[in-house]
């Protein structure tokens, strides 16, 4: 049985204060990870601070720096935001692959990365876009690259009292196509067995992979073969991905199948973004 105090915040400062002062305080965005996790005994929260209506966190805008996705913006809102669709469709694909429409009505991108699952579907696209995480606390603000934000399964680089204010997809945007390819057991309302993001940047690519290590990872071996050595045989390049990942066996798939699927999806991603 869940039992906790519920605090509704309409003010970013207050939210930071609650986080800093309380014990076992959790931020509640969509709650699609949090409530499920609490019910399953993963978190024991004394207080939930609801940030859904904090105005500073509802920001969804594009400016000189890039696209800012506030922490209370839902995935459904992000998916249809024109600057995302037009400039970084790979991120829209990642967002769209999360759960179901009704889940995405609540779920947020910030919640997705703060939950820090290596299988988070928005993470791999964000890695390929060199996204920045804007962090806020009573002390002030700081930013860090997404790759530093993920610290381990369920672990982020946030310190006590800090929250994610927004995620920035910086300019310049990539030139060229990007795809997010997700393998799952049913292909519908299911977590990724593996997720592969391949983003073309002019003549180069960036590749990131989810659910194959403690955090999402970049496939540097493959990137190097393509970007530096000019490898044109994508099957050969994709094979190198085995060096970049260390998947495990769980209920969603075996280690062996994950190795195989990553290789297949990286090759397909290369074909789809760089052309066969």
């Amino acid at each position: 049985m869940l039992s906790y105090d519920y605090v509704k915040c309409n003010d970013l400062r207050l939210a930071c204060q609650e986080l800093e002062e309380g014990e076992q305080v959790y931020l509640l965005a969509g709650g699609t990870d949090l409530i499920v996790g609490m019910r399953g005994g993963k978190f024991s929260a004394k207080t939930l601070v609801d940030i859904k209506d904090v105005p500073e966190l509802k920001v969804l805008e594009e400016d000189d720096r890039g696209i800012t996705v506030g922490a209370a913006v839902t995935l459904n809102e992000a998916v249809v935001f024109a600057p995302i669709r037009d400039n970084v469709p790979i991120l829209a694909e990642g967002c769209h692959s999360v759960g179901s429409y009704s889940i995405r009505n609540r779920a947020t991108m910030a919640g997705n990365i703060c939950n820090a699952s290596p299988a988070a579907d928005t993470a791999a696209p964000l890695y390929c876009l060199d996204a920045l995480v804007n962090i806020k606390s009573s002390e002030g603000s700081r930013s860090m690259p997404i790759k530093d934000f993920f610290a381990g399964p369920g672990k982020t680089a946030l310190n006590k009292g800090e929250l994610v204010q927004s995620i920035l997809i910086p300019r310049p945007y990539p030139e060229g196509k990007g795809v997010y390819l997700k393998a799952s057991r049913t292909g519908s309302v299911d977590l990724a067995t593996v997720g592969v993001a391949v983003q073309r940047w002019g003549e180069e690519v960036k590749i990131a992979i989810g659910a194959v290590a403690a955090t999402p990872v970049r496939a540097f071996s493959v990137e190097k073969a393509i970007n530096e050595k000019g490898e044109k045989n994508y099957a050969d390049a994709a094979r190198l991905v085995h060096d970049d990942i260390s998947p495990i066996t769980d209920l969603r798939g075996s280690r062996e199948y994950r190795y195989h699927m990553v290789e297949v999806l990286v090759r397909r991603g290369l074909e789809q973004t760089l052309g066969v």
Binding site: T186, G187, D190, R252, V264
Partner: protein
């Protein structure tokens, strides 16, 4: 069947408006009175002795009213084999078995108190594979098996884990194999699966101050709950009242009695209170019936021309920790063990084996999905060995009028050929599609058959009350769990009674007021309850004619009833409204003729027999329902993902009482079959259920649901009401083998098990290389 007015039309569901508006009442919707909430303490070991249960801290917890352990309530219960207690006594036999129950004034206090109960176990070696469990040196799970009470149509083996060994010996198996040109032999495995109804198990119990027990339950059979409680509590039946709400899906998991008894001893301590338990999803997945896993060996002898001469089937079922119900699934699979095929020489051994896995029990199909998986896969292998068309092999061996089943029962009313041919035609059988974009295409077909697996004396009864204004109430004991029973049954009543269906009211059962029904299981209600309702309607109609004849002073034979008035065919002046007849009819002189009209009808099968203990020969089937599934798939050989391009299903319904509801059952069953074929599998690690909720127990969603073509074949069932037979479970049975046959066709690799998850398909392709 000329001139049917209501039967055969798609009248809207009786419960449609309630369900669509959300006003339909389920157990949790009811305010019943002062409540106590129950929660279970569950075993943390799969097999062990209970050394000690310390409830002191739990009892002291604020809000807690009672804590009960098995010692205080040791009576056994069970439908066929009385092997189960509501709470573990002395020993636990599966992980998650309830060892204590707490009742408190809030659900939260109950849950907290559960954590304060300390249980000490001495762990015992477990049995997790029934094949191991059959070995002489296996740990024994029920030491007392030999002393358990049992319905004498089951055959436990003393001193072992075998709770039932069912045998079929038909013809001469040695001769059959000697005649064969080829013998095909293979092992198959079907894993456990779960029903996942949208509503979990729920029950509430009240002990009144004058000693009457009232039970609200999601059970599929209020009468069986009453019967089992009466027995285990040693109470007379008139002191027990079981009330059924609407049920949010059953699929077998709510058959028999499951959780109601857990609450009774608490209710007895707090008369007037209502003690309620609501299972959460994990409790439902792990603590209630699971479809039994099946390990089987199938050997078939076949002539060059495709004719099967002999079939030898060994089935080892994972009965789980208690097999009170499972023993009958094992029996049903045994006596049906040739599937939809007429095979002269058969030797079957079907074993129900105790293990320390979750309790096995009924699931849509009742053993047929598991058993016919082997049959329908092996037919594919036979066809390949002989270089024949798999459809042809099915048509050659398929049952026809006058065929005999494995138990030697002669079948009359069927058109299995037609069932196969309509789906084959629909999917363009015989036309091989080329592979595209590196993906392979294949087609598969599978047949199916099932009869209700019910005791030969499983009965139904019905009452029809005619109101003063000529409207009517139909009273029955069947439950409505989404299948549409209320609608189909009122159509049968309407047809026989001539009263329009919208003038007929029908409700879910309450054992204090509604007449006896065995169980809403086995796809039998339309037939059995339907027959009793038809008889009750005919009885009421007969009374209407008798009364009207008296009133009009004319012979009964001349009268007709059109739902509004009774009139004489010979003399148009002689007519009486139904009101005049039904409202305590009296003559113009004021002399009374008859009081209110009440029709009654009951049914018990007369065509079923016991089976010979050594040969399994006899008539176990009330009726046999045939059908088929045809599938076209596209497989991505790199990822193993199977895409369904075409899905066609057919069922010989005899007569579709309500074609729309019938089609809905075809769709629902087919999707459930598809879901097991591609996704569903309960995973255990030494008895611990690993995927107990929807994060990792995946079922098909609407995204995974392809377009379906369904065909209702109508070969009338001689003794069914208006020719109807039950079709609820059947559509599921052929889907898994049809899909596997199609994937095999696409890839040239074989599958002896399912689900065909992407990973399993990929693995199979890899192993072939």
């Amino acid at each position: 069947m000329a001139d049917l007015k209501t039967v055969g039309t798609s009248v809207p569901r009786k419960d449609a408006i309630e369900k669509v508006t959300g006003s339909a009442e389920f157990i949790e919707d009811r305010y019943m009175g002062p409540m106590l909430y129950a929660k279970m303490k569950k075993s943390t070991v799969a097999h062990g002795k209970i050394k000690n249960i310390d409830t002191t801290r739990a009892l002291k917890h604020p809000g807690v009213k009672a804590v009960l352990t098995g010692k205080e309530y040791p009576n056994r219960i069970g439908l066929y084999l009385i092997d189960r207690t509501f709470l573990a006594v002395d020993k636990v036999r599966f992980w998650g078995e309830p060892v204590a129950v707490v009742a408190a004034v809030t659900e939260k206090a109950a849950a907290e108190a559960v954590d304060l109960i300390e249980v000490e176990y001495e762990e015992l070696p477990g049995v997790f594979d029934p094949r191991e469990g059959m070995k002489p040196d296996a740990p024994i799970i029920h030491e007392d098996l030999a002393n358990y009470e049992i319905v004498p149509i089951f055959y436990p083996e003393k001193g072992t884990n075998i709770a039932n060994h069912f045998k079929v010996r038909k013809g001469d198996i040695d001769k059959g194999f000697a005649e064969a040109d080829k013998i095909i032999e293979r092992d198959y495995y079907v894993p456990q699966m779960q029903h996942v109804p949208i509503e979990t198990h729920k029950a509430a119990v009240q002990w009144s101050l004058d000693g009457k027990l009232t039970v609200w339950s999601t059970a599929q059979s209020p009468n069986v709950v009453r019967q089992l409680l009466a027995k285990s509590l040693d109470m007379p039946m008139h002191k027990i009242r079981v009330i059924s709400s609407y049920i949010g899906g059953g699929f077998g998991c709510k058959a028999g009695a499951s959780i109601e008894g857990l609450l009774v001893p608490i209710a007895q301590k707090f008369p007037g209170h209502i003690v309620r338990i609501v299972f959460n999803r994990e409790e439902d997945m792990q603590g209630t019936f699971t479809r039994q896993a099946l390990y089987s060996k199938l050997k078939t002898g076949v002539k060059k021309d495709g004719r099967i001469t002999a079939l030898q089937y060994e089935m080892v079922w994972d009965g789980g920790a208690y097999t009170e119900y499972g023993v009958n699934i094992v029996r049903a699979a045994g006596y049906s063990s040739t599937g939809a095929y007429d095979i002269p020489n058969v030797k079957t051994d079907s074993y129900c084996v105790y293990t320390n896995n979750s309790i096995g029990g009924p699931v849509r199909g009742f053993g047929m999905c598991e058993m016919q998986w082997g049959i329908e896969r092996q037919l594919e292998e036979i066809a390949r060995e002989l270089g024949m068309d798999p459809l042809e092999v099915r048509l050659i061996n398929g049952m026809k009028k006058g065929s005999t089943t494995a138990s030697g029962q002669v079948i009359h009313d069927l058109d299995y050929d037609k069932c196969l041919k309509v789906v084959a035609d629909k999917i363009g059988w015989g036309k091989k599609e080329e592979s595209r974009d590196g993906k392979y295409r294949g087609k598969g077909i599978a047949g199916l058959v099932k009869c209700p697996a019910q005791p030969s004396n499983a009965a139904s009864s019905a009452m029809i009350r005619i109101n003063e204004d000529g409207t009517a109430h139909v009273m029955i004991g069947a439950t409505e769990m989404g299948q549409g029973m209320l609608t189909a049954i009122s159509q049968i009543a309407s047809e026989a009674l001539h009263i329009p269906v919208d003038k007929i009211d029908i409700k879910v059962p309450d054992t204090d007021f509604t007449p006896y029904e065995w169980q809403s299981v086995g796809s039998r209600i339309t037939y059995t309850c339907g027959t009793s309702v038809k008889r009750a309607a005919e009885d009421a109609l007969g009374q209407i004619y008798r009364v009207a004849a008296d009133l009009l002073e004319t012979p009964q034979e001349d009268l007709s009833f059109d739902g509004k008035k009774v009139f004489s065919a010979k003399n148009p002046d002689l007519t009486a409204t139904i009101r005049e007849v039904a409202d305590s009819c009296k003559k113009c002189t004021g002399e009374g003729i008859a009081g209110p009209i009440i029709g009654r009808g009951s049914f018990v099968p007369t065509n079923m027999t016991n089976l010979d203990p050594e040969t399994g020969q006899g008539n176990p089937g009330l009726f046999y329902c045939f059908g088929a599934t045809g599938v076209e798939v596209e497989v991505d050989p790199e990822t193993g993902v199977v895409k369904i391009l075409q899905l066609a299903c057919s069922i010989d319904a005899g007569k579709a009482v309500n074609p729309q509801l019938c089609t809905a059952q075809l769709h629902g069953g087919t999707i459930m079959g598809l879901s097991t074929a591609l996704y569903e599998e309960v995973r255990f690690d030494k008895g611990i259920m690993l995927n107990r909720n929807f994060t990792d127990y995946k079922i098909a969603t609407i995204d995974n649901t392809p377009h379906m073509d369904s065909f209702i074949v109508e070969t009338p069932e001689t003794n069914g009401p208006y020719g109807a037979r039950g079709i609820g479970e059947q559509p599921m049975i052929g889907v898994a083998p049809a899909i596997a046959n199609a994937v095999s066709d696409a890839l040239g690799v074989d599958f002896n098990t399912f689900p065909l998850t992407p990973e399993r398909v990929w693995q199979a392709i890899k192993n072939k290389k």
